[in-house]
Structures are given as structure tokens and as C-alpha cells.
Amino acid sequence: MNALKTGIIASGLIFLCFRLSAQADIPVKGKMAFIPAGKYIPMYSSENETVPVNAFYIDRFPVTNSDFRRFTDQYPEWEKENVKKLFADQGYLKHWTGNPQFELSLAQSPVVNVSWFAAQKYCECQGKRLPTIAEWEMVAEAGLTRPDGQNEAGFNRMILDLASKPNPTKLPAVGTTQQNYYGVWDMHGLVWEWTYDFNSALTTGESRGNATSDNTLFCGGGSLLAKDVNNYAAFLRFALRSSLKAKYTVPNVGFRCVKDAENPDKKTSSKSE
């Protein structure tokens, strides 16, 4: 909950992006997939509410070590040794065993050990932002052949299997798991991913008292309030998100960015706040 507050405050701050003019204009659509407008039914909500989601573009792959290296080269304040303690704890980029080097074989692996602040900043500097939970989950719902994956044979089991396997000793490259209906890779089974409002699961449903919402993910509370008590894979994701704070740097949490498709000036239009 503290992290949510921090997240809101931080997102309210104006970060200075010394964006290179050339880079800002690079068309990103080839590397991004178009997601048509739709709606998302939150995992935790007090009523049968749906969240409308505007059309957007999403990175087809999680951000890689190599991508992130280019970012830290341009914004040295985000290098391992320069990062402010407020924005990332001591695990920041700890798999980059030299500074700012990482093992070459990890170049195309998703970048992990990055804080929410770093991820959000990276996206901002690309003219993008982190996806909301609604956006991320909507893309994640897609199966291999259809947008509603849960109606695809074996979909839920596949995701749960991927989600509950231990981390590999070395993270594989992006684009090595599954490509879904939208042409988006690695939504399941590679790394967990930061979302813009990652910690809002605990505070969704403003009509409920804190005592209830605090317990949403513990013991029976999670099941009682959840929309789909059998969606164990989603439980895992929500549980993971709720265990995070914005400055945390976790060895299996990476991210990807999104960009609004129709309302580029209203970047926050689809957020729940």
C-alpha cells in the first residue's frame, strides 16, 4: 500500500527526459503489436464492473538487457552505480556483474532486477509508459489462436505450468516461449512484468473497508472476492504484484512498454485512478 502511494507520487513527478530527438521519432509500431479496444473484468472487484480499455500498442517482446543498456548509456543516472536509493534498492541490475557490463549471452534475455521507477522511466524516455494491469491482463488473456484464451483447450493449464516452474539458472532470450493471438511474445513463462498500477489490486473496490482489502490476497480472502476462483495463474500474478514495492528489484521481474493508439495526448486515460 505504501508502494502504491509512492507510485502515485512518483508518477506525479515530472522526470526530465533528455530525449534524443532522433530517437523520439523512430516508429515503434513494428516492434509493437496493436491491441484493439476492449474491456477487462478485474480479478478483484466488489461489483460486476468492467474496465474499458482503449486501443493501444504493446511491445511484442519484454525489454532486454541490451535495450536497457542503451538506456543507461543515455541516462547515466540510471546506471547501476548512480541510481538513487529511493528509486531502486541494492539489487538493482545485480546480474550485470560488471558495471555496466552483463554477460554477452544475456544480451537478448529480458532485463530483470529493475525497479518500477526504472521501468517507468525507461518507457517514458521512449515516449511510452508501463501498461496498466487491465491492459496487461487483457493481452495475457489471449491464447495462441484467439483473443479469449480460456476457451482454448489446455490454455489455463499451460499458463499455470509455466508460471509455477522454478526460475531457470539463466534466463532464456525473449521470443522463446509463446507468441499469442496478437503477435505478442512471452506474456507467460519467461518473467513476471511490472505494470503501471501493480499495487492497486489491494485497493480496488473503494467501497470496501481497508480491513477487508488488506486481506485480499491472504488466506480465504483472495478466493471470496475473486471473480474467477479457478484462475490460479492470475492469482499467482496478482500475489506477485502485491508483494512488490516500487523500489524493489526482483530477479524474475522485467517489463515491457505500451503506447496509446488513439489518444496519444491523454496518456493516463485508461488508468483507474
Binding site: 489455463n156 493449464r157 516452474k165 522454478p166 491472504f218 488466506c219 492469482f235 508483494s243 526482483v250 530477479p251
Partner: protein, 484 residues
């Protein structure tokens, strides 16, 4: 009693000052006054500090000898790892301390515990811990909710003595428990537990795998079976054979034994029983009430029991969940092997196994004693399979793999490599004593089977051909020659 968001010390002092702590219970800890609600505790008497000794099952930390409360530091690490759930079958367990069940924690009533939960950086998921010994929000679940690579700390006072379950309570809770995230914490009463010769830690759990029991390879968690409460494995200490073979629990005749028994669930309630023993004492549900002379005790999911008994005579005493198909078909089986002098006044059985072995023919009316000569190969095998399932599968299991340490395998079994008389003999004459099958020793009794020569031939032919990939065909005449 809840101690929310306030240092327990202050709460205790305030309560004491206001006179809310009832001191009427003269024999503290013995719970003799049934009208008394609320345990006595005095946090001012905390003296010193120590680090808790944590042990892997079936080992239990040594009894607590101090007669005062202290500050106890518990360091417990969450580790997700792949381990064998049965020979040749792997499963990804989520563990407290690297074992299933998790490390045994032993503290004393009134101790002030500083609990550190560490989520290993290689883990994929967040975890937490709910200790049933804790009086407070979520049993510590909320306070210990922690992402991979982070550590959470909270403090509590152990107000109530007893044997308590702890478990992970992170969504989806059932899945975290089904993957092995439970263990036991013993809060010894102030006056301690009576001295015994042996103490063991045994905890049951049910497991849900995509493949059926014994299907080899890495088996994933099956959510649908878990929701239907239809486990493939019901296990003591997280593995088929965790308490058999080399891992058998050991004691000597005349010794006193205490079993700390827990049940992590997630679903099943255990009918805990030790074959060949009567529990002299059972601390019912792990609490203070002692029952005596108990055969089978219920251990609820998320609950426990302490059983105490004296092993009077030598023998193999079999720990089972007496919901008995779980024992023989799903793995809930262990052995307490007792060595020592026979006491024939208590039990005279070793030289005479005491098994009724009627002759195959006597007293049994057989309507269709078939002759092998009249059957085709297919019919013979079909008959053999039917006979196998009725007469053999209960012990050797329907796939012939047997039960490690108890019932030898008949499928892919080197016992079927030699002379045919070797395999006919146990079926028609019975067999007892030590044998070695596939390199493992078995010392048990197989009663002679009430099968005709032709039926014996059919079932053995079935075992040779379908379970051992051999061409051997046994005839009724072969059987006749071996029958004594």
C-alpha cells in the same frame, strides 16, 4: 486474544495492570480449570536470547531444558525446488527450509519469537507464513508477505502451548499448500513434556499431479484434481518411501516413542494409525487434553496430534493413514522398525507368522476350474490380468510396481529372471523372510494364494509377459510340481 498493531509487551502490561489477567489457574499449563479462558503469560520474565534449532523431518530438535522464557530468533528460508516425490517421479515443491514438511521449530510457552522469513532470490513467487501458534493478524501471514529476494520479520509471543501447523497463506493458498508449504512448530508447555527415548516428526500431505500415481518424469500440479480433492499421492514427509527402506524410523524394544504428527492437507483429514501399536497417550489435536489407549487418531488438515507409546516388542510397526487406500495405493505409509528381545507373553508371533494359510483347494468351491490347455494365449492373458487385479494388486499395486520397502515389485522385477519355480513357490506355498528384489531388501510375509494350478499359471504368465516383457508361459503342470 488479539494483539493488533501494538507491542505485545505493552498490551500484556496494560492487561495485567487492569487486572484482566486471571490468575485463578493454580497449576499453570495443566489446563485443569475448564472455566478459565486466557493463558497466563508474563513478558517481563523474558531472559536472554537464543537462535532456534531447526531440523529436517523426521528429526525433532532436542527438548527445551530451560525453565524460563527467552527471546528466540527463528530464521526460515523459502526455497522452491524440484525433488523426487516417488522413485523416478519428480515434482516442483515449494518448501520452508528445503524439505517437505518444512523445518521443525521448537520453542517454549511464553517465549518471545523474532521470526525472519527469507524468500530465496531464485524463487519465482512471493510467499508468507501463517503460524497457527501465533495470536495475531493472519498468524503472521500479512507481516511476512515477501517477494523473491527479500526478507520479512515479525515478533510474537507464544501464548498457548501445543503442537501447531504453519503454512504459506499466499494466493492461491491451496496451491502453495499443495506444493508442500507446511510444517510444525511445537510450543512446549512450561512444565515441559515427559521425557521419552525417541521423538520423530511425521507430517501428512496430499499431492495432485498431472500423471497418475507412479507415472514417471516431472509431474506438474493439477489444479482440477486439487479442487475435486482427488489426490494421486497421500504422503508422509513428502515422498513415497520417506519413512521406509533406508529411511525407516528406528527404536529398541522397551523404549518410549513420541510422534509429532501433523497434517498439512490441503484437503484430506488423516486417520493416523500405527499398525501393531496402541497409543498410550494422545494429545488430542495437538492441544493439552490427553486421551489414552487410542488405536487411531484424527489429524485434521491444518492440525496435529502428539502420540506417545512404549514399544514393547520387536517388529516392523507400520504408520498409515487408516483411510486405507491412501496407505496402500497413494503412499501414506511408513515403518517404525523396533529391534530387541522378544517378549512372547506380549506377542508370540515371530516364529509362527500367525497368518491363516488354507490350502488352495480346501473349503473353497471353484465352479470353473479352467484348464490352461483349453485357453488361447489371449484368453490366458485376460484371465491372468483379472486374477492379478483381484488377488495381487492390493499389495503389488495394479501396475506391479509394489510399495518401496514393503511389497516388492513384480513388474520389471529381477525376481522374475531366474527359475520359474522361484516365482511359482510364493504363490502356491507362501513366502516369508528376507528377499532381495531389484537390489532392495524386503522382509515381509506373503500368504499362499487360493488359486488353482491353472489360475496360478495364468496369473504368472500374465506377470511374465505383460509386466516383465518375457515370453515365459507357465503351465498348470509347472505349478503342480512346485506346490507342496
Amino acid at each position: 486474544m488479539k494483539l493488533l498493531n501494538t507491542t505485545p509487551i505493552y498490551v500484556a502490561l496494560i492487561f495485567a495492570g487492569l487486572g484482566f489477567v486471571l490468575n485463578s489457574c493454580q497449576e499453570s499449563g495443566k489446563n485443569t480449570n475448564i472455566n478459565h479462558i486466557g493463558r497466563e503469560y508474563n513478558l517481563l520474565e523474558i531472559k536472554g536470547e537464543e537462535k532456534a534449532v531447526l531440523t529436517a523431518p523426521p528429526i525433532v530438535p532436542p527438548p527445551i531444558t530451560r525453565d524460563y522464557a527467552t527471546k528466540v530468533i527463528v530464521d526460515l528460508e523459502v526455497i522452491e525446488l524440484e525433488m523426487e516425490i516417488a522413485d523416478g517421479v519428480n515434482y516442483v515443491f515449494w518448501t520452508f527450509g528445503g524439505t517437505v514438511p518444512g523445518s521443525f521449530i521448537r520453542i517454549r510457552e511464553g517465549d518471545y519469537v523474532e521470526f525472519h522469513l527469507k524468500n530465496h532470490p531464485d524463487n519465482k513467487l512471493p510467499h508468507n507464513i501463517d503460524l497457527h501458534a501465533v495470536t495475531g493478524q493472519g498468524g503472521g501471514a500479512e507481516a511476512t508477505y515477501v517477494a523473491p529476494g527479500y526478507e520479512a520479520t515479525f515478533n510474537f509471543t507464544a501464548i498457548n502451548p501445543g503442537l501447531f501447523v504453519y503454512h504459506c497463506a499466499t494466493a492461491p493458498v491451496g496451491m502453495h499448500i499443495a506444493n508442500g508449504m507446511y510444517g510444525l512448530i511445537l510450543v512446549e508447555p512450561k512444565e515441559g513434556l515427559p521425557k521419552v527415548d525417541k521423538e520423530f516428526y511425521v507430517m501428512q500431505g496430499d499431492f495432485y499431479t498431472e500423471g497418475n500415481y507412479g507415472e514417471s518424469g516431472l509431474q506438474a500440479f493439477d489444479m482440477n484434481k486439487a479442487i475435486k480433492e482427488q489426490p494421486d499421492y497421500v504422503l508422509f514427509n513428502g515422498r513415497v518411501g520417506s519413512l521406509t527402506g533406508d529411511n525407516t524410523l528406528k527404536a529398541s524394544a522397551g523404549e518410549t516413542v513420541r510422534l509429532f504428527v501433523g497434517n498439512g492437507g490441503p484437503n484430506l483429514v488423516s486417520s493416523f494409525h500405527v499398525i501393531g501399536e496402541v497409543f498410550d497417550n494422545v494429545y488430542m489435536e495437538g492441544g493439552s487434553l490427553k486421551n489414552h489407549d487410542v488405536q487411531t487418531t484424527l489429524v485434521p488438515a491444518g492440525g496435529s496430534a502428539i502420540t506417545e507409546f512404549k514399544v514393547e516388542v520387536p517388529g516392523d510397526f507400520i504408520l498409515v493413514d487408516h483411510s486405507i487406500f491412501r496407505a496402500f495405493n497413494k503412499g501414506a505409509l511408513g515403518i517404525l522398525a523396533v529391534e530387541g528381545e522378544e517378549n512372547e507373553l506380549i506377542y508370540s508371533g515371530k516364529s509362527e507368522p500367525g497368518i491363516y494359510q488354507p490350502s488352495a483347494e480346501a473349503g473353497i468351491i471353484r465352479k470353473n476350474a479352467m484348464e490352461a490347455a483349453t485357453l488361447t494365449e489371449d484368453q490366458l492373458l485376460a484371465l491372468g490380468e483379472k486374477l492379478y487385479q483381484t488377488n495381487c494388486a492390493a499389495c503389488h499395486l495394479s501396475d506391479g510396481k509394489g510399495v518401496a520397502g514393503i511389497f516388492p515389485p513384480v513388474a520389471n522385477s529381477d525376481y522374475f529372471a531366474g527359475e520359474i519355480s522361484k516365482t511359482i513357490h510364493p504363490v502356491v506355498n507362501g513366502l516369508s523372510g528376507e528377499i532381495t528384489v531389484n537390489g532392495n531388501k524386503y522382509n515381509s510375509v506373503m500368504p499362499k494364494q487360493a488359486l488353482t494350478d491353472a489360475e496360478t499359471a495364468a496369473v504368472l504368465t500374465y506377470i511374465y509377459q505383460t509386466m516383465n516383457n518375457q515370453k515365459t508361459r507357465i503351465t498348470a503342470d509347472d505349478v503342480k510340481k512346485v506346490r507342496q
